[in-house]
Amino acid sequence: MKEMKIAKNEVVSFLDSLIREYKVFAPVKRDSFVVFQEIHSGSEALLDYANSKKPPKEIFFPQSEVMFAYSLHGEGLGIEEPAFEEKPRVIFGIRPCDARSLVILDDIFNSEMYKDVYYIDKREKTLVIATGCNQPNSTCFCTSLGGGPFSRDGSDLLLVDIGQEYVVQAVTEKGEQFLKKHSEFKDVDEHSLSLMRNVIETAGALIKSKVETEEIKEKLDRMFDDPFWDLVHEKCLGCAICTYLCPTCHCFDIADEATDHRGKRIRIWDSCAFPMFTLEASGVNPRPTNKERTRQRIMHKFKYFVDNHGMAACVGCGRCIKECPVNLDIRAVLNSILNR
């Protein structure tokens, strides 16, 4: 695997040069938190941060997205295609957990059975430059889900912070080609590589939060009717924080917004936590109470998704843990399941 390096003090000018050619998304400070946004100058990017409040899935799967527009006129119905991406894009500074979430989202939006043109357009036109985590947070449990602070899944390039420089690992062919075209990337020496290996090893050991996730699916296979669910949901408010801030949650609703003879069909995020999520036109709701909906969340992520896609729909980023207003900690739920 090709490795090069870039000096930290050259990153801002590197981003500035990218901005001329690409639409560049990077972590940006907004009030007291961090979000991924398009930047118009390299100095806007935050290089040192824990993780963004909202997951960067919104760069590929926005909270609301116009699928097409329509208008009725004298000659009939006119359909306006959605705006596809014109410029190639770069997402810079995404964390390895979030980069891994793209692999999971790929399996949903770009599978043999289903090709989501909106997602695929953005995904194919985006180069993913991830920054590994030298100091994971206490709520990070990526290693329990097949990831890690320097996991390469889902990225084209992975940056490793070794002090004054980043070592850059070319994860994909696309990443390697990109390195060749940018002179800010220099050849890397053995000393830097050895620093890199140290950083990676140390970071792995800093992940303190662990859950034995391999046995969860087996337990869940037998737990649909378990009285466990009667109690675990009690404090849950049924809001959408965990689903909207989760990098792998992908459920959506489709709404038409129209006035007179013109309208738009819009895809919007939806949440299985909402009562209306499974409300059928007949009035029947297969998940009538918070109990069924909380059970669904855990089952979907750790059993159904494993059944259908061979992996858990969770990357251990810890956002749901940090942001849940009632501290319904998914790690505690998983550990309770393991102890059943």
């Binding site: 824990a50 609301s64 947070n137 709520t139 959408a240 949440s271 207003p325 501290n327 900690d329």
Partner: protein, 316 residues
């Protein structure tokens, strides 16, 4: 504080053992520093988990409605005022609730502390009488609790329970000599453009997760207006217009009912200043109808009644 936790536990165990309640809703230790979590206990042994400290910030009155059983609830001043509201709106029976009232000096706002630490993660927190000792990977810092309270705690004038079935510990001193509407007045004094700018800046952060609505004990409509499709009152995207209407309408739906417990603001993941509107409406209700929500079981909420003397300067 340890005393308060012990007193709550003892009270809870007694109530459960004597079968005076079937369930006690309180707080237990959370999985993060400076964090507690709502706890549902049905047996005396489970009551051992109950705690009380300056991170017991949730409004547990949310969990009282639609229960068959007799419920005990560990409640601070604001929570109890919500309970009074729920009783007046006939959502719960007074006899069904056993109120374990806890005098409160305010709850700590974790986010204010995180902002001060500018990204450094808190790994441990030890609460003392007036201070909290924070420990991170490479720092230790002591902070004064009263400098990091939630905004709604800073303007609270009901730190002691208004009603209760048992009072835990001694009453505390009420906040004195301050203007709870100081920030509202500053806002009112601004131009309409400036106020609109300020309001839209806040709500543009909204991700329509409805945590504010779901955390509020007084938001209990079977079908919330945001979920109505026939007619559809507002769109479901984060379009600024739709989001603004959501916040404005929700604020008006809580007019004369909101007790300013701050649960909405605490639940919001994006740190939106939700009380900007609700506190202003609370002030208007006080001035127009001389009414304060959640302090009396007898008075009728102003939007549920009328009085021939009601102000009508708007009729010209």
């Amino acid at each position: 504080m340890p005393d308060t936790s012990v007193m709550i536990r003892d009270t809870a165990k007694k109530l459960l053992d004597e079968k005076r309640v079937d369930l006690i809703i309180g707080f237990e230790r959370g999985t993060l520093p400076l964090c507690s979590s709502p706890c549902f206990t049905r047996r005396s042994e489970e009551a051992e988990r109950l705690i009380w400290n300056a991170s017991c910030e949730n409004n547990l009155a949310k969990y009282l409605r639609r229960r068959e059983e007799k419920v005990g609830i560990v409640a601070k001043g604001c929570d109890i005022r919500s309970i009074i509201g729920l009783i007046k709106e006939q959502q719960i029976d007074r006899e069904q609730v056993f109120i374990i009232g806890v005098p409160c000096n305010g709850m700590i706002d974790r986010r204010k502390i995180e902002a001060k630490l500018d990204g450094k993660e808190i790994l441990e927190a030890e609460e003392e009488d007036e201070t909290v000792i924070l420990k991170g990977r490479d720092f230790t810092e002591a902070i004064k609790k009263e400098e990091f309270l939630h905004n709604s705690c800073k303007t609270c004038n009901h730190r002691n329970p208004v009603i209760y079935d048992v009072l835990i510990g001694d009453k505390v001193e009420e906040n004195q000599g301050f203007d709870e509407y100081k920030e509202v007045k500053e806002f009112e004094a601004q131009s309409a453009d400036r106020r609109w700018q300020s309001f839209t800046n806040e709500v543009s952060k909204c991700i329509r997760c409805y945590a504010c609505r779901n955390a509020c004990p007084l938001c209990y409509c079977q079908e919330c207006f945001v979920d109505s499709s026939q007619p559809q009152w507002i769109g479901k995207t984060t379009n600024l217009s739709d989001t603004s209407i959501f916040h404005i309408v929700r604020a008006f739906h809580t007019a004369g009912r909101c007790v300013d417990c701050g649960a909405c603001e605490r639940a919001c993941p994006m740190g939106i200043d939700i009380r900007k509107l609700t506190k202003k409406i609370e002030k208007d209700v006080k001035e127009l109808f001389h009414y304060e929500a959640g302090v009396s079981l007898e008075d009728i909420p102003p939007l549920a009644t009328f009085n021939p003397d009601d102000p009508q300067e708007f009729i010209k």
